[in-house]
């Protein structure tokens, strides 16, 4: 579970020095279809190079593209999830440029009439979402790691032709933190749809950010720079923040922002300009004559709308509005599908426990314990939703104390222990017999005359020492509230 997702975004944009940042995102999502966008080759990641190729994805003379129906369905699903308008007839175009990773020397993409447009995901408007094909993967041999100055460049066409959906937002984001949070929401949303692995490190989700700043209150857009290819939203947040800061210093010193493409190095925190000539590229867009317009049938649109699962944003509002879970925890849970599913599993164990309490346990103690014990992934944790549910139940009904609960949780995370068994074996059950507890309280007062006297004479804080004594005697099995009540009774307060 990501840290700090609760630091409410969207407000940090207007800065004290009078500038606000304006950020738009371009997100490429690799679809997890069986086969490529325009041919029958299998999709793969990490296979031996150039084994998933055919004349079509190698751009041989005479070949023609045939669109992958599943990719179109996935695109429609994304369009529905982002609340977009779907074009009745969208058009594929050829985007022309020479590069060895581009076998036909044009990429089939969409240009003036994209599959979907005018959508929204929470506070950010979606400008458009369109279908296209991915390029091949280049590996540059030599010290530079770039094509310039490399000894040789190798091309792996396994990736060439992988279906992509490119999502372009309006420039509605205002800070690095908001970029990270919203990016995580988008990733969770697409993951929930089951149309992509959304793995940024493997490149199945890639995010570029366009960053500019302007005086607060201005409605004009400043000159933007583009930050490319960050492999996590946390790095993107840092990169965007660094770029906002750079632009502010530049403008404050009377300078000008130059339109360029930047790379942020997370290890050094530095921004580098990628002096590619791409800025001046004329892609000579041409309507793709080899494909007919993409006209989804009413049945396809209906199928997409009907198969939409409950999406993270809707889940978060349901947790907040119907279950009374605080906003921060609601987001934390629902933006990561597996956590939300886990939470609902815990909740289902005992309907008597307040959802708010369950949410606190899941996002608080449990998440913290996973982090503490070697940063475990939820998917690999030994704790089942059911066993965590039974632990929370025991605490909620007062069978064990909160403190005992935490120590049981420790062994659950460590060795997958059954909480009921641990409670029994270690005798952690609370002393529910108030006669027995009363005896212990009385002897604690007798054994600690000093603190007892201080409390009697008005020093409320001194009661802590007496509570501690009782807890020590009961090995944490006493209910804190009850101990307090009995202490006050016997101290004549």
């Amino acid at each position: 579970m990501s840290q700090g997702a609760s630091s409410g975004g969207g407000t940090a944009g207007a800065t004290a020095d009078g500038y606000e940042a304006v950020i738009g995102l371009e997100i490429h999502v690799q679809l997890s279809t069986e086969t490529k966008m325009f041919c029958g080759c299998r999709l793969s990641f990490g296979d031996e190079p150039n084994i998933h190729t055919c004349p079509i994805c190698l751009g041989h003379p005479g070949v023609l593209p045939v669109p992958n129906r599943r990719a179109i369905e996935f695109g429609l699903l994304i369009a529905a999830a982002l609340d977009c308008e779907v074009a009745p007839r969208s058009i594929f175009h050829r985007k022309n440029y020479f590069y060895p990773d581009n076998p036909k020397a044009y990429q089939i993409s969409q240009f003036d009439i994209p599959l979907a447009s005018d959508g929204r995901l929470n506070e950010v408007r979606i400008h458009r979402a369109h279908l296209e094909e991915d390029a091949a993967k280049m590996i540059h041999v030599g010290t530079s790691g770039r094509i310039q100055g490399s000894d040789a460049s190798l091309v792996d066409f396994n990736r060439a032709g992988t279906p992509l959906v490119e999502i372009v937002t309006e420039p509605d984001l205002r800070s690095g933190a908001q970029v990270r949070e919203w990016g995580q929401l988008l990733r969770a949303t697409i993951k929930q749809l089951g149309v992509s692995d959304v793995n940024m490190e493997e490149g199945s989700l890639r995010c570029d950010a366009n960053v500019s700043i302007r005086p607060v209150g201005s409605s004009e857009l400043g000159t933007k720079t583009e930050m490319k290819n960050m492999n996590s939203f946390r790095y993107l947040e840092r990169g965007v923040e660094a770029e906002i800061e750079r632009q502010k210093q530049l403008l404050s010193a009377g300078g000008r922002v130059v339109q360029e493409t930047l790379h942020f190095d997370p290890s050094s925190g530095e921004l580098h300009s990628l002096r590619s000539k791409e800025e001046s590229h004329d892609y000579r867009y041409l309507p793709e004559p080899d494909l007919v317009p993409l006209a989804p049938t009413p049945e396809m649109l209906e199928a997409a709308a009907e198969s939409l699962p409950e999406l993270p944003a809707a889940r978060a509002s349901r947790y907040r509005d119907e279950l009374g879970i605080p906003e921060a925890a609601a987001q934390l849970l629902s933006f990561e599908t597996e956590w939300a599913d886990f939470f609902e599993g815990v909740l289902a164990h005992d309907e008597g426990v307040e959802p708010r309490v369950v949410a606190n346990w899941v996002t608080g103690e449990f998440a913290a314990e996973l982090r503490r014990q070697g940063d475990q992934e939820l998917s690999r944790s030994k704790v089942s939703a059911d066993s965590l549910g039974s632990l929370i139940s025991m605490v909620a009904v007062g069978r064990i104390s909160h403190a005992s609960g935490k120590s049981v949780l420790e062994s659950m995370v460590a060795e997958g222990a059954d909480p009921r068994q641990v409670v029994e074996e270690q005798g952690l059950e609370q002393i529910s017999d108030s006669g027995e507890l009363e005896k212990i309280v009385k002897s604690a007062i007798e054994a600690n005359p000093g603190p007892a006297e201080q409390v009697r004479s008005g020093n409320q804080k001194a009661i802590g020492a007496l509570v501690g004594a009782v807890m020590k005697e009961t090995r944490g099995r006493a209910d804190g509230g009850e101990v307090n009540r009995l202490l006050k009774k016997h101290l004549d307060l």
Binding site: P55, H60, P61, G62, L64, N96, Y285, P289
Partner: protein
């Protein structure tokens, strides 16, 4: 039967000889391979041995066309067989797959005789843009066979192949058929799969038969047409194609676009055209003057649209994956050297024209405008076909011209396509049949004149019937023996 005789019958007649058991398919193939070996027209770029010709051929001896060999324009990909599109840039290229049209012929049992000369990437009207030298017109070896399917037409007219597969983008089947005195059919766009046909201008390219007579054209079209899941733009012809049998033209109306015929038609060509109109009348057909108001702009629109598409289609020849790669230092240099050395001048001219037309800032003025003209031409034909069954013109404004006569002036060369380009832009079917002989403008022995008939989209059967009736009435002998 003597060997010379085996190459005499038309393809349809040859098929009958084989299926009746009168001759074996091996004898037929052997005879044709020998004819091809005697190619003195530079028609073949690659010739098959007997074994190579049979590669992938199925059902030998079963269907009506089984065993009838066919020549293939070198623009079709043929697995493991050199395919160059008559360009140096594809020298040594062996495709890893067969074009759909090629495999359909093989499935019908037809051996492949060889790969035929053409204008480089199908860009040209004389076959002089081939990197391997021009094919020659069998009627006069000092003259062009037309283009771009020049090798295919020369071979069929010259008796080097029984029939051939060509492609037509702006007239590349019809014009060489006309100049060589044989039949060429460009079917409706979408009726035959383009998969595996090396793209020149994708929205115009269409493959079709080049044959001695209309019956052969119908037979070959019947094998080729059909939807192909490898080509999203293919639809096939509903109802298929059968052998034409009409003997008159009664009740049919033939429209003559008089405005289009005004300029540049050689008098001899005009005379044959007029005589053919008379023959239509005598067969019961009705001649009507019609107007295709925008067809005259067809050439201008075509020479924006086709190069624009070509400029992106030909970008893949970059030396990275296949074909030739020139010695170079660095990536950009590799692109420049490879493409500079690999493409001929006409291909370069069209790539530059097309690149310019698609450049940002010019797109609407050129490509956008040409598309609008194309739409108007489509509407011209639609309103014409509301009144007439067919539109007829001479196929080409002139008979075959001398080698080198028009190479210095691209525009004069482009005007050869004046009457064929409008049908390409409209995507409708059109056939050229030999209608007679006429003297060339500069004097010399008579040469063939083609008569073009165009029909509404997917009305190939009706078109073939009319062409068949007219062909029978004209009685033009399309066999090589006719050639002096």
């Amino acid at each position: 039967m003597a060997e010379g005789d085996l190459t005499k019958p038309t393809a349809a007649a040859t098929g009958l000889l084989i299926s009746s058991g009168e001759v074996s398919s091996d004898e037929i193939l052997e005879a044709w391979i020998e004819r091809a070996a005697g190619d003195d027209l530079n028609a073949y770029l690659w010739r098959a041995t007997g074994e190579q010709a049979q590669n992938g051929v199925e059902g030998s001896g079963s269907g009506p066309l089984a065993g009838v060999p066919v020549a293939i324009k070198d623009i079709f990909c043929t697995q493991g067989v050199p395919t160059t599109a008559a360009s140096k840039i594809l020298q040594g290229y062996l495709p890893p797959y067969d074009a759909t049209a090629v495999s359909r012929l093989a499935k019908a049992g037809m051996p492949m005789l060889g790969k035929m000369n053409m204008d480089e990437f199908a860009m040209g009207s004389s076959n002089e843009n081939s990197a391997y030298g021009p094919a020659l017109n069998p009627w006069d070896r000092g003259r062009v066979p037309g283009g771009s399917s020049g090798g295919s037409a020369a071979a069929v007219a010259g008796g080097l192949a029984p029939w051939a597969l060509g492609t037509d983008t702006g007239g590349s089947i019809r014009q060489p058929a006309a100049l060589c005195g044989i039949v060429g059919l460009k079917p409706t766009y979408g009726s035959i799969s383009r998969y595996g046909m090396i793209a020149f201008a994708s929205s115009l390219d269409q493959c079709g038969p080049i044959t001695r007579d209309v019956t052969d054209a119908a037979l070959l079209l019947g094998v080729l047409e059909g939807r192909d899941e490898m080509d999203s733009t293919s639809v096939g012809i509903s109802g298929g194609i059968s052998s034409p049998s009409a003997s008159d033209l009664s009740g049919l109306v033939f429209g003559v676009p008089v405005g289009l015929l005004g300029e540049g038609v050689e008098p001899g060509v005009r005379a044959v055209f007029d005589a053919t109109l008379d023959r239509i009348s005598s067969l019961g057909g009705k001649i009507e003057e019609i107007d295709l108001p925008h067809a005259g702009h067809g050439i201008s629109a075509y020479y924006v649209l086709a190069p624009a598409e070509a400029s992106t289609n030909l970008s893949r020849y970059d030396g990275v994956r296949y074909g030739s790669r020139a010695p170079s230092s660095g990536l950009v240099d590799m692109y420049e050297q490879t493409r500079s050395a690999g493409f001929g001048p006409e291909v370069k001219r069209r790539i530059m024209l097309g690149t310019y037309a698609l450049s940002s800032g010019y797109y609407d003025a050129y490509y956008g405008r040409a598309q609008r003209v194309r739409t108007m031409i489509v509407r011209d034909f639609e309103s014409a076909f509301a009144d007439v069954d067919f539109v007829v013109t001479p196929t080409s404004p002139s008979v075959a011209f001398r080698l080198g006569e028009k190479t210095e002036d691209p525009w004069t060369m482009y005007l050869n396509d004046l009457f064929t380009v409008p049908m390409s832009l409209a995507g409708i079917p059109a056939i050229s049949i030999p209608a007679g002989l006429a003297p060339p403008a500069g004097g010399g022995p008579d040469l063939p004149v083609g008569f073009q008939i165009a029909a509404p989209a997917f009305r190939e059967q009706k078109l073939l019937e009319a062409a068949f009736a007219l062909e029978s009435a004209i009685g033009f002998d399309g066999s090589p023996a006719r050639i002096p």
